[in-house]
């Protein structure tokens, strides 16, 4: 791990400190996994092992939780995470077309990261913004009432931010 990771690890350990004295430390597992993903962008094995020691939860169990929930990333993600809502309302309003357009534009499948490391594409089950259907979430911003061309334009606006500097290949975890 590099020094940046050391700092993150330190932060995670401090965060967990609040739970380790708890007689039911293991019940904080999901909260801690959230924090870990916030810090690293995904759940790396070493980090899950660290959590295992601190909360006294076996790694097989942590792996079970981490792999169960869609929300948790098990491999490094791009700088921005795109979640196309495939909930019923969005789906009826054409989310499938949005997803297809994003796949085509970035030339990746669901779950993958674009070659330039900018975007990771995910499907989501209902983001709770059905009034704005169809909805796409990028990082923690919601874009509603999108058309296929609309979503392409949003992606362009993100990509343009990096046009003029050299930060092209930026996978968050590195």
């Amino acid at each position: 791990m590099n020094s940046n990771d050391d700092i993150k690890l330190q932060q995670l350990k401090e965060y967990m400190q609040g739970f380790t004295k708890d007689p039911h430390a293991q019940s904080n597992l999901i909260t801690v996994l959230h924090r870990a993903q916030e810090l690293y962008g995904y759940l790396k094995q070493e980090v899950m092992e660290e959590i295992a020691y601190s909360l006294a939860v076996p790694t097989a169990k942590i792996w079970g939780v981490a792999s169960f929930y869609h929300y948790f990333n098990l491999s490094p993600v791009g700088r921005h995470v795109i979640s196309v809502c495939m909930g019923t309302a969005c789906y009826v309003k054409g989310a499938g077309l949005l997803l297809e357009r994003v796949r085509q534009k970035l030339n990746i499948d669901v779950g993958a990261t674009s070659a330039d490391g900018l975007f990771t594409l995910q499907e989501a089950r209902c983001l709770g913004a059905c009034g704005l259907a169809p909805v796409v979430m990028i990082d923690d911003r919601i874009y509603g009432k999108l058309s296929a061309e609309g979503v392409a334009a949003v992606l362009d606006s993100y990509a343009n931010r990096y046009k003029n500097n050299k930060q092209q290949s930026v996978v968050r975890s590195k």
């Binding site: 092992e49 020691y53 792996w63």
Partner: protein
Amino acid sequence: MKAKKMISIYINDVQYKVADGQTIMQAADALGFKIPRLCYHPKLSIEGACRVCIVQVEGQKNYTASCSFPVFENMRVHTNTKELRRARRDIVELILDNHPRDCHTCERDGVCELQRLAYAMGIRNRHFEGERKHYEKDLSSPSVIRDPDKCILCGRCVRLCSEIQKVNALGYAHRGFKTVVMPAFNKPFSESVCTTCGQCINVCPTASFVEKNNTQELFEKLDDPSLTKIVQVAPSVRAAIGEAFGLEAGKAMHKELVSALKKLGFDYIFDTQFAADLTIMEEASELLDRIQGNGRLPMITSCSSAWIKYLEHFYPQFLPNLSTCKSPMSMLGALIKSYFAKKLGCDPSRLLSVAVMCCTAKKHEANRPELAVEGLPAVDMVVTTREIAWMIKSAGIDMISAKGSDFDAPLGLSSGAGAIFGATGGVMEAAIRTAYELYTGETLLDIELQSLRGFSGIKEACFTMEDKEIRVAVAHGLGNAGKLMEIIKKEPDRYHFVEVMGCPGGCIGGGGQPYATANSIPLDEDFLKKRAEALYGIDRDKTIRRSHENPDVQRLYKEFLGRPLSTVSHGLLHTSYSKKQPQGIIAGGGNNEQQ
């Protein structure tokens, strides 16, 4: 204790008085109903995953899983209606739908709970055809193969590994249709904390877990005329192998087994019990040595390979407490490749050293580099009780009615103390029989040490040898072993000597023993009791019941080893183990300080 309140329930319109606070299934079991079931196991927590045990409770909208639903006053339960039978059949059929249709080529053909259940449910047609999962087998472990395709997600293995063994090598990963039982991070077994105990094999209702099968390889070696074939048999194999041939549990089969092994093509049949006696000579001497101030106490036994691997992962700080003695199997293997090779005037590389064990972890042990003798493995191949039973059947040998024979000299004679090694507490009992006499010079009159027998998780006892008080403890099953280590952490001086066996019941309950029969369940305590009784019976029938009185062991010391703990002994019969990665996590407990 307050007596449980009795309530009245109706099963199939007949009124019964049952104790309150139990499930429908428990109440029904006691009344002679056997509601079909699959994921349920009385020693494990309630999962309610398979839905096979459904019953109809009047007033309930849906069918109820009887394993998890408590009885209540005036409850009216139906266990056997036309609709229920159909629903159960459909449930089992849906389970089969995502299960390979390969019964006749499956390892567990004929001894499969799912197969029995399908039969009992009367599945004679297949109505459903759906998507089927496919995953690669995990062949990485020398002991246990994991085949997710056969898994029906009953979760018995996961619960056993976390609740009884407390190893937590297995968990559910992913979800829905994609759920797979696997080690953490989808790592191969060989890179996990798996102790190779093989209990997952015993509790699995299908062939999702099986031992790594060495039978074909062994058949080939038996055909090789350039090899001298030598086999040793663990104590617990004789106590259980009859079950694989349909005999009632608890029949000691050593004589029959010896003659069957001869017919299979082995040249020499030796007894691991001989090496058990030898282990006692070395271990009792080591204990007395440590008590006199040379080495860490409590001394912990080192016969069980799953236990050693558990210690390496979970409690490496206790490795110095481990007796340096190799296991009886590895001691005998070492003698075969040295002492016996010399006696035969034969190059040890031309000897095939096979061990028939009740254990899957012994396959892992045989691969350990620290147990090699002059660069050669002490044991070339390990086959389980199940495997040897299959080989005997496959070779067309009548083991049951054949005339028995005795083990071969010079490594085949054993005392009664060597026999009881297979039951929990047996090593301790054997060691005390010898240590007492070595220390005091007097004869121990009452050698059946009842305080060390039986199946409570942790047994404690105290023995007085002249002025000295020896406090001992015995644990079986890795969960109990972990508990005992926590006690020792807090009170390092509580015991002098500790026996640990990795499997529930000791070796008699090993991961390589015959599968549960139609009328029993895996880990059935009645079966374990009968197997233990077979070993205690062997002990009672022997004239020589103390390891140090075994004349062939005495001869071995005179001719070859010198005395216990001699340089030759140390070179051949002792070893040491080291910490292993990944570090084991003690769930919810202790302090998992990083080591």
